[in-house]
Subunit: 339 residues, 2 copies
DNA sequence: CTGAAAGCGCTTACAG
DNA sequence: CTGAAAGCGCTTACAG
């Protein structure tokens, strides 16, 4: 082990100041407003910082300045490239502004969300980003007490807690269902995730149903199938799809992950796609364009959602966000081979 | 907006103490050593905490206690379910111990790693988790100065910076190459990621080469192909594979993501798998078992890596890790339809 | 079982 | 352009 264990010798501002022959005030200024320090002094201080390897202590800084460079962001899962795209962008944007992202994974569960939130609250985050708009009462209380900007992602809530950035899941699902109809499919089934507090799922289901009703297409109870998150569940759902009578000719999946699972299950069952069964997804993840057959899906601007979210938070923190509380990033239908 | 903007009214310990009619010392004790407080007082304090919605300020706590409940973890990408599995487990383990994970994404770049590290250092993390064992000089300096446990994941470095948890990528690639040979393949190509500082890639390539040499199989320069991260690049690599003469009968990919990309490119080119081209991956992500044809791959115990990492860090922090600095979590060859 | 004092490492105002 | 003082919200020792 080449490590020289050296506990306690982490440089603090006083060490830098001593080395540079100034007070800590000057070091602090050299860090924050270098223009307010004479060039010669600045040089000395910077040299001392280099030599000591000094990194300011954020705990001390945020305690006294009453501002925290932390933004909390909670997502249902990180195993999904739909969310990863947004996370990546959020991370990039906030890093550039000097903030760190404290990420949490709720597993689609609002009680887990509450637990994570109460743990993260101790950091007095500058802003809080959540997925969806269903939260426990305790969570709402904490968010309210915090007094910081709260952004709900991925949907357009009628009554946002504070701010929201996303798309109309209802409208997108409605459009995709109508598109499938336009492309000639009539017996359209809907495959969903079975998490009750997932407002995206609920809205997509409603959009699907509204379109089906308007189109005069029947939706029997067996046509709406719900499964847990995970490829194998989606793949297994093909057996349920095959039992529906009369036979369905298309399945619209609430996520690309579900759609790929179904596609693989269908291929394995010897079905031809889209001949025997058309498949549509939601999200337009990287795999959707690559898989064979390529996946028809709803493109969600995940990077843009992250960007807009970061933007309105920064504007709010600087005191002046005057835009609408709910930002619509839109979506688009992408037709490929699977439907 | 139902939000009652209420800046500055976040409860602190003094508010709780006042409400409960005790001093902040007693509140602090009620939080940390409830058994040291009389039942009646404890009850009063807990009631006051509930009423005020008090959450302790971690900045203040960690400043005075000189310990931070933050663990920094840097990964090349979060878009990869191989890493997500480890991240999930790390997050679970550390949450249970009262630590928060500060996650960063290096994009396979050690300069980005350095930048993230210097930003996160200000939190005086309790431990630092990195992927791989190539780091810049500046990073090494910072890690050394920090004096905290550093764990390098995903490989078994001969000379770890401090601690390491992973598997032998060299050995695993060697085994897979020999397995492919055993299964009858002779012209085995290797598809890699083209990031120079990715020690996993380098080791896998070396393992492949060693096996090929031992088996007396030729490796011409065109048989080792490198592409950037991203499905489309892997898919496009099929064109290069087809140009190799004499024809290759198998391609061993340095990750499942690459393998799935190649598989899709091959299917699209009308090749039959494994008849025209056998494919093997590395990682055993969820998709590997589901995709058609299912993917032969190297199973990497990603959750176990996270668990072991958390375990040795916690033991070290409690003063007594006496195990080996490098923990081998092993791997296994999983044969499926693609080879 | 409870409390008074000191102080963690910085930044914020205010002087000079 | 530089510095002396106060204090952020807690925990750590030490008294009682």
């Amino acid at each position: 082990m080449k490590r020289s264990k050296s506990p306690g010798k982490v440089a603090k501002m006083a060490d830098v100041a001593a080395l540079a022959g100034v007070t800590i005030m000057t070091v602090s200024r050299a860090l924050h407003t270098p223009s307010a320090v004479s060039p010669a002094t600045l040089e000395k201080v910077q040299e001392a910082i280099r030599e000591t390897g000094f990194v300011p202590n954020y705990a001390a800084r945020s305690l006294v300045s009453q501002r925290s460079p932390i933004v909390v962001a909670l997502f249902p899962t990180m195993m999904n490239s739909v969310f990863s795209g947004t996370i990546e962008e959020l991370s990039r944007q906030f890093s550039a502004q000097g903030y760190s992202l404290l990420l949490g994974e709720t597993s689609f569960d609002i009680d887990t969300e509450e637990k994570l939130l109460s743990g993260f609250m101790g950091w007095r985050p500058a802003a809080i980003i959540l997925t969806g708009s269903r939260h426990t009462e305790v969570s709402r209380k904490m968010l309210e007490n915090s007094g910081v900007p709260v952004v709900e992602l991925w949907n357009l809530p009628r009554d946002p807690f504070d701010l929201a950035v996303g798309l109309s899941n209802h409208q997108a699902a409605y459009d995709m269902t109508r598109s499938l109809h336009e492309w000639g499919y009539r017996r359209i089934s809907f495959l969903n995730l079975n998490y009750p507090n997932n407002d995206r799922s609920v809205d997509r289901s409603a959009g699907y149903r509204q379109a089906m009703t308007e189109l005069g297409l029947e939706v029997t109870p067996d046509m709406e199938i719900s499964v847990p998150f995970g490829l194998e569940h989606a793949s297994a759902a093909v057996q349920q799809l095959l039992k529906i009578t009369p036979k369905v000719d298309a399945v619209f999946c609430s996520s690309d992950s579900l759609a790929v699972g179904v596609m693989m299950g269908a291929l394995r069952a010897g079905l031809s796609i889209p001949g025997d069964l058309a498949i549509a997804g939601f999200g337009n993840v990287e795999l959707a364009a690559t898989v064979v057959p390529s996946l028809t899906t709803v493109d969600v601007p995940r990077a843009q959602i992250g960007r807009e979210c970061a933007r309105i938070i920064m504007e709010r923190l600087r005191g002046g966000y005057r835009g609408p509380p709910v930002v619509d990033c839109g979506y688009s239908i992408v037709r490929r081979e699977s439907a």
